[in-house]
């Protein structure tokens, strides 16, 4: 298992670190990931992975009714947006 590459992870997570931050965080993450390594030493054949808690969760019982619900505080939601133009949220250009 390759150790964590901070630069690659930052790109995936859309997170920019300063060189100082990267220098500090890199070793910290590697240390914790090394500690995660204990999980590789356990015998886990034939054990199902648990996605959730041990008891049944409501959503396992089926879907809710397909009916339209209206959120009444739309103005307040829109007020939180930093940059707007008409009915659009403004963002910088998107490069590939």
């Amino acid at each position: 298992v390759k150790p964590p590459n901070v630069g690659e992870l930052c790109e995936k997570a859309r997170l920019s670190l300063t060189p100082d931050e990267a220098a500090e965080i890199g070793p910290q993450i590697s240390r914790v990931v090394g500690w995660f390594g204990q999980l590789q030493e356990v015998e886990l054949d034939n054990v199902d992975p648990a996605i959730r808690v041990g008891h049944e969760v409501e959503s396992q019982r089926g879907l809710r009714r397909d009916e339209h619900l209206d959120f009444t505080e739309k103005d307040s939601m829109v007020a939180s947006v930093g940059e707007k133009e008409g009915v659009f949220i403004k963002v910088p250009k998107i490069l590939n």
């Binding site: 964590p4 997170l15 920019s16 914790v32 995660f36 992975p49 963002v91 910088p92």
Partner: protein, 551 residues
């Protein structure tokens, strides 16, 4: 001295804001900006502050008698017209302001608390019943959305954010007549065990101001312990209600996953998060749970199971039979009282066990063989879920946005500047664990360990046992002591994380004090029950707190 300058700034700033009739945003900023954020300044503050100053001399915290319900007492006085809601809220607000320069529990104080109290008085005068929590001042952890007040999650990335809705738990408290007195400090987005990773301020433990209140619900626990509110809401993903409750000597309840709606709780790890309660007695925590528990169509993981009246399970001390726990079986978890736990903590917990036995209980040792694997498994799962949940903080729809020419650069800079170090670490570790090629090695294995832990609990609980353990391996540690080594912070969560992975309910109960460097520090006993059996935990907890020798 740094701390008294801080105190002056607080008092002066707040006083000015009030005098000029500024809105709450202004007064909130005075409070927020008076503290400095970096770990080095925390250590400076800790060093400069009177080494073990405690602010618990106040008569507001009953220490010489068994824990009594604040809510019941206040409701009785209110209904008998011996006191008004305005007088209740005024008393708590005065105490809040008095303690706040030292404790710094609050990120925001409600500017409408007295108006709301006046409205409660008006309704009572008209013969209306505002609800079972009428006039009770309650503090809300700042990762719960409150429509009338800012909600930052303890993060700069939500600086100034005002949610367009209330969290369901908050809405239900309001419907019960509660007065929401303010928003409390927390580790950023719930990630931490000391409240030191708040982007805004460090909260001090009221028992010893040079120590942490625990985390991530440290602000809520400290506020309750200091009498700044009657009780509080918190959240618990890996111990974030129970551990601060233990460190601050208050009662903390982590309900069963699904018992309380998560709608409006800023998600950290969606399969682990729960909303829960803190108070100075089991009665108060039960009353809070009554108000907030129950199915919510807005939360697909909330349970439709009927909510009992949790107060009904609690019998007053004088009506208890001689052996109130006769026939009850408890299992103390072997892996939590040996190596890795401070001997003084293990001793206090063993004394608590002796007390339970005197009440008629049978206490055996039980073993959960996969116990210690839970900690790395938890951190893999929590970090992975967090890396997904925190993608939404992108500077576009809410929160501060850093200007950039191009979208990815904007995301990177907004998130890079908006998130603190611990959150960044967890997002990156989670991203790693979920990456193609690493999924099997980490995430899947963590899920498999989760299955084993659930199986171990199921076996141990099926004999009708309630499980016991210390809440934390140590009492409250010093501010700054663990910030330089994230792993040392994680290791303190050993006793609590497995409960979240199984989704079980657990109660943290003050059970004694330890003396450390001249300070008296509380220790909490953890009681773990079967899913949706909060009644049993609260019943036993209530008997324990009513009969335990005073401390």
């Amino acid at each position: 001295m740094a701390s008294s300058l801080g105190a002056q700034a607080h008092a002066h700033g707040y006083g000015q804001a009030q005098a000029h009739g500024y809105g709450d945003a202004r007064s909130a900023r005075f409070f927020r900006n008076a503290g400095d954020l970096s770990p080095s300044s925390c250590r400076f503050r800790a060093a400069m502050a009177t080494a073990s100053a405690s602010i618990l001399a106040s008569p507001a915290i009953p220490r010489s008698k068994p824990a009594a319900s604040q809510i019941s007492r206040l409701q009785t006085q209110l209904r008998k017209k011996e006191i008004s809601a305005v007088e209740i809220v005024t008393e708590y607000l005065d105490r809040l302001r008095e303690k706040e320069p030292d404790v710094k529990s609050f990120l925001h104080i409600s500017s409408s608390a007295l108006d709301e109290a006046a409205e409660i008085d008006g309704r009572l005068a008209r013969g209306d019943d505002p609800g079972p929590l009428a006039g009770i001042p309650i503090a809300i952890k700042d990762n719960l959305c409150t429509q009338g007040m800012p909600s930052t999650g303890g993060s700069r990335i939500l600086d100034g954010y005002r949610p367009p809705y209330d969290a369901t738990a908050v809405k239900r408290l309001k419907e019960s007549g509660a007065v929401l007195i303010g928003k409390t400090n927390l580790d950023e987005f719930g990630m931490g065990s000391s409240t030191e990773s708040s982007a805004y301020q460090v909260t001090s433990n009221p028992w010893d101001l040079s120590r942490v209140p625990g985390g991530s619900s440290g602000g809520s626990a400290a506020a309750v312990a200091a009498g700044q509110c009657a009780c509080a809401l918190g959240s618990d993903t890996g111990g974030s209600i129970r551990q601060p409750a233990s460190f601050c000597g208050v009662v903390g309840l982590k309900p069963t996953y699904g018992r309380v709606s998560r709608f409006g709780l800023m998600a950290y790890a969606s399969s682990l998060d729960v909303v829960g309660c803190l108070g100075t007695s089991v009665d108060d925590v039960s009353l809070l749970l009554n108000a907030i528990a129950g199915h919510d169509p807005a939360d697909a993981t909330s349970s439709s199971k009927v909510v009992p009246n949790y107060l009904k399970a609690l019998v007053p001390a004088k009506e208890l039979p001689g052996n109130p726990l006769a026939g009850m079986k408890f299992g103390i978890i072997k892996e939590t009282i040996g190596e890795g736990v401070e001997p003084a903590v293990a001793q206090v917990v063993k004394n608590a066990v002796v007390h339970l036995e005197k009440l008629g209980a049978v206490v055996q040792e039980v073993s959960l063989p996969t116990f210690s694997l839970g900690l790395p498994a938890y951190y893999v799962l929590a970090a992975s879920e967090a890396s997904s949940n925190l993608s939404r903080y992108d500077g576009i729809r809410y929160g501060p946005r850093v200007v950039a020419d191009e979208l990815n650069a904007m995301y990177g800079a907004s998130r890079g500047q908006g998130f603190g170090a611990e959150v960044k670490r967890r997002i990156l570790m989670g991203t790693y664990a979920l990456s193609a090629g690493y999924y099997d090695a980490f995430y899947k294995r963590a899920q498999q360990v989760r299955t084993l832990i659930q199986q171990d609990f199921k076996k141990a609980l099926e004999d009708g046992h309630i499980l016991l353990s210390p809440v934390a391996p140590s009492p409250a540690f010093k501010i700054g002591e663990k910030v330089l080594d994230p792993l040392s912070m994680y290791l303190g969560d050993l006793m609590t994380v497995n409960v979240n992975m199984a989704g079980l309910p657990a109660l943290s109960l003050p059970c004694g004090l330890i003396e450390d460097e001249g300070s008296k520090l509380p220790v909490g006993l953890q009681l773990i029950g079967n899913a949706f059996e909060e009644e049993e935990l609260l019943r036993v907890g209530h008997i324990f707190e009513q009969t335990v020798p005073t401390w």
